[in-house]
């Protein structure tokens, strides 16, 4: 039968990635694109600049230390939000696998609430609801805006880490629990000596992934007036007066900074993941 097409069995579609495992898919070429755009924008700005004014690159160079100082606060916020979010998230995740139904459902509710709320909404809520100082009676601790941002960011991180922990524990074969039980391990011992040590490896790649997402999200705090890199970039542009041609070079430069920070972390995470896949 000339031309007749035989039916073939197509290869199965690649499995959809599990929720909470959205890989931070940064590639080296993405950095190159940003750099090229940055070069083009700077060139265009050069052409658009009035003669007599300092060139865009020169102007940018002058503001680099200022913008980097702002970026430092982005890093500080991301570190502390990750720290608090991880501690709280680990506790919440363990509560999600508790044997007590109320603990389990309560922690599930908290997890789902903070995991599914928009980050900006959480940030606004904390910024507006949290007092500007904490009065402990004997001492009054001021709470600056950046600290409120830390709290605001640690909530969604907490919820997502909670899911990472729960998912990792539940992904282990039930035989691990059973054999530990048959060897008379208590539940606590089983968790501590058998289950969690195996989970740590599984949790590190998504944990790093969430850190990258968090680091990229910290500029949201600029909306609330926290003086981080985006706020500082806007201030630098203001200080330069009426020079709209500088907007592209300045923000693309900021994007490059974020890329230079998160790209190596994302690469490292992928390498770890591969390593853990091979050896168990």
């Amino acid at each position: 039968m000339p031309g007749a097409e035989l039916p073939v069995l197509l290869p199965p579609a690649p499995p959809a990635r599990a929720q909470g495992d959205a890989r931070f898919g940064l590639k080296a070429r993405h950095g190159l694109y940003i750099a090229v755009l940055f070069a083009l924008a700077t060139g265009a700005a050069q052409a658009a600049s009035d003669a007599g004014l300092p060139g865009p690159f020169e102007t940018l160079l002058k503001w680099v230390p200022f913008v980097l100082k702002g970026f430092g606060l982005n890093l500080v916020i991301s570190f502390f939000a990750m720290l608090f979010g991880t501690i709280a998230g680990a506790a919440l995740g363990l509560m999600q696998i508790s044997l007590l139904a109320p603990v389990r459902s309560g922690s599930w509710l908290v997890t789902q609430f903070f995991r599914n709320s928009p980050w900006l909404v959480l940030l606004f809520a904390i910024m507006l609801l949290f007092p500007f100082e904490l009065d402990f009676g004997f001492v009054v601790v001021p709470v600056p805006d950046w600290m409120k941002a830390v709290i605001g960011f640690s909530l969604p991180i907490m919820a997502n880490i909670s899911e990472v922990v729960r998912g990792a524990v539940q992904s282990l074969p039930s035989g691990q629990w059973e054999s530990a039980e048959s060897l008379a391990f208590t539940r606590g011992q089983t968790l501590r000596m058998v289950i969690l040590p195996q989970c740590i490896k599984r949790m590190i790649p998504p944990w790093i992934n969430w850190y990258c997402i968090l680091a990229m999200a910290t500029p949201l705090a600029s909306i609330m007036g926290v003086e981080e890199s985006v706020t500082y970039t806007a201030q630098a542009l203001n200080a330069e007066g009426d020079r709209p041609e500088l907007i592209w070079p300045f923000y693309l430069f900021l994007l490059l900074i974020f890329f230079a920070y998160t790209y190596p972390i994302a690469r490292w995470s992928i390498r770890l993941e591969r390593k853990f896949l091979v050896k168990t």
């Binding site: 048959s182 060897l183 008379a184 391990f185 168990t280």
Partner: protein
């Protein structure tokens, strides 16, 4: 393996059945898996439970060490009532060792660490003593030189033998084997069976759920055939294999032999 069982329950003596199962009923939801099973296992006895998949044989031995609870009936191990809500699980599991089809070794620990973990952390025995015993057990299951290998570096048969050593490290009085060769390559089945045979010959009380009919015929003192949650027929291997009476047993044996 010693005759002395210092911490056995008062009232239990070695001339009574070591494991006594009486009219056990077990359901998972609406599905009744065990519908009144009774059997006794004497000390040093080797019994094999055979039967089609889903006949409840694995569930039965899982109930013996309280991995599954039972709804009705009674199971005693050296006089300990397994179905007691105040069951001392530690006391029970010190007496009952269990080996699983999927080995279930702890993949993040080496072979020797797998063997040592429970005696160290559950029985709180001194490390030196545990270590000595663990090396001895690894030697006993013929895995000398593999002490520091991770489970992922061992073959299925080797992993299963580590699992047997791990269970023996708790010095149990009875060993439960739940289809321990079912997941193995044919060529490694033998090495595991040899290990079990040696154990049996040393006098360990063994309960095997198995599909290895040759092994059952050679080694078992008594064979039980289960189907749909009941024991259909049982007897010593010689009579069991030659003059099975129940049509279900006959059919099963004709398919498998």
């Amino acid at each position: 393996m010693s005759d002395a069982t210092p911490d056995s329950t008062p009232g239990w003596t070695p001339d009574q059945p070591m494991v006594s199962i009486k009219d056990v009923h077990k359901s998972f939801g609406d599905l009744e898996v065990l519908k009144g099973v009774s059997l006794d296992i004497m000390k040093r006895e080797v019994i094999c439970i055979i039967g089609p998949s889903g006949s409840g044989k694995s569930t039965l031995i899982r109930c013996v060490n309280a991995l599954n609870d039972i709804q009705k009936g009674s199971i005693t191990v050296e006089g300990i009532e397994v179905n007691d809500p105040n069951l001392d699980k530690l006391a029970l599991r010190k007496k009952v060792g269990m080996v699983f089809q999927q080995y279930n070794l702890f993949p993040h620990k080496t072979a020797i660490e797998n063997v040592m973990m429970a005696p160290l952390h559950v029985l709180k025995q001194p490390r030196q003593e545990v270590e000595e015993r663990a090396y001895g057990l690894i030697k006993k299951v013929r895995l000398e030189g593999k002490e520091h290998s991770y489970p992922g570096e061992l073959s299925g048969g080797q992993q299963q033998r580590v699992a047997i050593a791990r269970s023996l490290a708790m010095t149990p009085d009875v060993m439960l084997f739940d289809e321990v060769t079912a997941a193995l390559d044919p060529e490694t089945v033998k090495e595991v069976l040899v290990t079990i045979q040696e154990l049996a010959e040393e006098g360990m009380t063994c309960v095997l759920v198995t599909h290895e009919m040759g092994f059952a015929r050679e080694l078992a003192d008594h064979i039980y055939f289960t189907d749909r949650g009941v024991i259909v027929e049982h007897g010593p291997p010689a009579s069991f294999f030659s003059d099975a009476r129940d049509p279900r047993t006959k059919e099963f044996l004709s398919q498998i032999l």
